[in-house]
């Protein structure tokens, strides 16, 4: 059988998506969650619980937009795959670049931006070496 014999659909169906009522309901939920988000810092003490609550609320709102307004819930899974790949890549690079920062006691809360004058910390960007302490380089070693 040649390729021409394979039935194909030119595009995923656009109908069968959410109704106007659903779109409006999602919009109302987003608006209400925004009001709650703004009020939360005024009602709760600023701490980890507040940060986690706000981040989770923001992620929930973002996923509502992606699922219903960007139609990820209804369209081809390939588009979801593109987004998942992007999120995986950013997570991969994030772990790669900051692994040493958060696993080495000496490196914690120390950034090259705020390093003492004449000193800088360099983290080697590989998983194998990221676990080791950051290399301190004295100005005289830099030539």
């Amino acid at each position: 059988m040649s390729d021409h014999d394979i039935p194909s659909t030119a595009a995923p169906p656009t109908h069968g998506r959410a109704t106007v009522r659903t779109y409006l309901a999602i919009g109302a939920v987003l608006a209400v969650l925004t009001v709650i988000e703004v009020q939360l810092p005024r009602l709760m003490a600023h701490g980890p619980l507040l940060v986690v609550s706000l981040v989770l609320t923001a992620l929930f709102k973002a996923s509502l937009v992606a699922a219903f307004y960007m139609h990820l819930k209804y369209d081809s899974r390939a588009y979801l795959g593109v987004m998942a790949l992007a999120i995986f890549l950013i997570a991969y690079f994030l772990v790669l670049l900051t692994f040493g920062q958060f696993t080495t006691p000496h490196a914690r809360f120390r950034s090259p931006v705020h390093a003492p004058p004449g000193w800088r910390s360099a983290s080697v960007p590989s998983i194998a070496s990221a676990a080791s302490a950051p290399i301190r380089i004295a100005p005289c070693m830099l030539g």
Partner: protein, 205 residues
């Protein structure tokens, strides 16, 4: 000899619309771009001993005004999705009406952001300085980097929307051919999605 009937399943293949896939790939790259900005800010904040505390930030940044802006962007997303829904059902007047509403809301968002920038600069929050003594000026840098790039994306969306709106008003979209509306909608919703995250990271946490 009895004839046997063999039923063979026809293989099916779904071909993705190339323009839509291209837009999704573009949005994927935008995820990387904005994530880089957001995580750079988070890293700088965690490593800075002088990052402004929540109360100090709220004193400088007008959270209530920005909350209104967030609401405006959410409503504009609703308007875009209603525009797409209208043309999917052959309602050209509905398409033009909702796109026009989106244009007004997008322009309002930009206007409020410009007003906010003006007020902040007047108070001394510039790209390289904060009005709060002893705090890290990188706070201001990251603030303008994230909100500024997002504002540029909104501006790009508004300009694109102008083109889409003109085409809609001329009747160039129909129930069967409205790719431009759908692709613009994807971009606009993504800009809204990014703002939802930025609003929390920049103004609330």
């Amino acid at each position: 000899m009895q004839a046997s009937t063999t039923v063979t399943a026809q293989p099916t293949r779904t071909v993705l619309p190339s323009r839509k896939l291209a837009v999704w790939l573009f949005l994927g790259s935008e995820v990387l771009f904005f994530s880089s900005l957001i995580f750079s800010t988070i890293t700088l904040r965690l490593t800075s001993p002088n990052w402004p505390s929540y109360d100090r930030i709220t004193h400088v940044l007008a959270v209530n005004v920005t909350a209104v802006n967030t609401f405006i962007l959410i409503v504009s997303s609703v308007a875009v999705v209603l525009a797409l829904h209208a043309i999917e059902h052959g309602d050209q007047r509905g398409l033009v009406r909702w796109l026009f509403v989106t244009l007004i809301l997008g322009a309002t968002f930009l206007g409020i952001q410009a007003y906010e920038y003006r007020k902040l600069i007047d108070e001394g929050l510039t790209v390289a300085a904060t009005p709060i003594a002893g705090t890290d000026p990188l706070f201001a840098t990251t603030f303008y980097a994230m909100t500024g790039f997002h504002g540029l994306h909104v501006l790009g969306g508004v300009l694109t929307l102008l083109i889409v709106l003109v085409k809609a008003a001329r009747g160039l979209y129909s129930q069967d051919h409205h790719d431009g509306v759908e692709l613009f909608g994807l971009y606009w919703h993504f800009v809204d999605l990014v703002w939802i995250i930025l609003f929390t990271i920049v103004y609330l946490i």
